[in-house]
Symmetry: C2
DNA sequence: AGCCGGCCTAACCTATCGGTCAAGCGTTAA
DNA sequence: TTAACGCTTGACCGATAGGTTAGGCCGGCT
């Protein structure tokens, strides 16, 4: 939620107009920044793509960096999802599997912004210092949830205990990131979360219910 | 060693001089491109860093893109290593473990280049069309070797047969890439190939000799 | 000696960059 | 009517981008 006011349409004609153009600019900038990067994208391009004058962009956003940060916030929105709320009624095993599935579905459905953030973090630190922290916070939040769930599952005797929850979570995350890389970089690779989920299920819970048994499916 | 001729010093004064300056330029450009990217690096900066005039760069390289490609080739050099030659005398198991270790050691020792290539491949292909192909060739070459070795190991009854060599190789590569991500992005993460190697050993060969048993170590 | 060609530079060129400015529009309030 | 305000624009600015030009230096060949 960047600047979402609660006022209805046409209630404030100027404000509405302003919001529209601001949105067009953000959309265009997002598209351009995403597949060209910060330095490769010029404000003139953004203006042309958004079909407004360049000066209008500078009326909405003081500098190019401010526009960039607005884009980042816009892109970060879908990342904030309250998991604990969403699946509180499931047992640990299904929460874990749900979490794993969520990671991959997210990467698949937000491939562009994931690409974007990855590229941004691989490059200039300047612009992505705060960004990196935010993402790391999300990431370790995710990891912590995983650790917590595995620990509870172990306590209840639901899964193997031959490893610490931290190590298991680290292993799972590595595997997920590996799948992510494959999906993002290999041309034509398809993300199929089910096989990954069933792998984790196998590994942690020995697939105590019916489940596919495919392991390391990597179709191409 | 880019263009290391075998001629001694001062044998060809002009050529030697030229090579020196060309090398300085390449070194500076490599450094700058690596941690700032193509568009963020200006020829003037390269000139300053290499302590030559900008015009000299354009004498050695017709355009900025040509310089960039020269840098890429320079960076790709260490990737071309003939594995089959190097470890022909080992058995499949140790060749596989060697291969795994090599992957991680390479990522660790060439982190900057790897970062650079990843970032480059995330961006639009214009500049890195040929580059992407080259890297994909290396990557699938690596994967093929892995597949081949696992297949042979299975034939000889050295390792489990509950999976196809392709799936096993895909799984291992995913795990390696996951470790790579962790190493590249987590501040202070250390790459320790031994534990990964022993994991693969455990998984494929059930660690038939003495080996550590740590799994998914993720210290931070 | 005198010229040639490889190596190198200061100065210069044009296009485009991020950013500014003053003025024009329609709406609203007085 | 008109002054004020929010939104929008074309024209413009200095800085810097990639790239060029003309020429200087230097060792080797005739």
């Amino acid at each position: 939620m960047v600047g979402s006011q609660t006022k209805g349409p046409s209630q404030e004609p100027h404000g509405q107009q302003s919001q529209d153009s601001r949105d067009e600019i953000l959309k265009a900038a997002t598209r351009l920044f995403a597949n060209r990067g910060f330095h490769e994208t010029s404000m003139s391009e953004v203006a042309r793509e958004a079909r407004v004058s360049k000066a209008l962009i500078f009326w909405h956003f003081k500098t190019k960096e401010e526009l960039f940060l607005a884009v980042l916030n816009r892109l970060l929105e879908p990342y904030f999802i309250d998991f604990a709320e969403e699946s509180r009624m499931l047992d640990e095993r299904h929460q874990i599997l749900r979490l794993v599935e969520f990671y991959l579905l997210f990467v698949r459905d937000h491939a562009n912004s994931v690409r974007f953030f990855l590229a941004q973090m691989l490059r200039e630190q300047r612009l992505s210092e705060g960004l990196g922290e935010q993402i790391m916070k999300l990431y370790s939040g995710y990891r912590d949830m995983l650790v917590e769930l595995i620990a509870r599952a172990q306590e209840r005797g639901l899964c193997a205990t031959g490893f610490t929850p931290e190590n298991a979570a680290g292993f799972i995350l590595s595997a997920l990131n590996g799948l992510m890389i494959e999906f993002l970089f290999m041309p034509g690779a398809t993300m199929n979360p089910e096989s990954a989920v069933s792998m984790v299920d196998q590994w942690l819970f020995h697939g105590r219910e019916r489940q596919e048994t495919s392991v390391g499916k990597t179709e191409h």
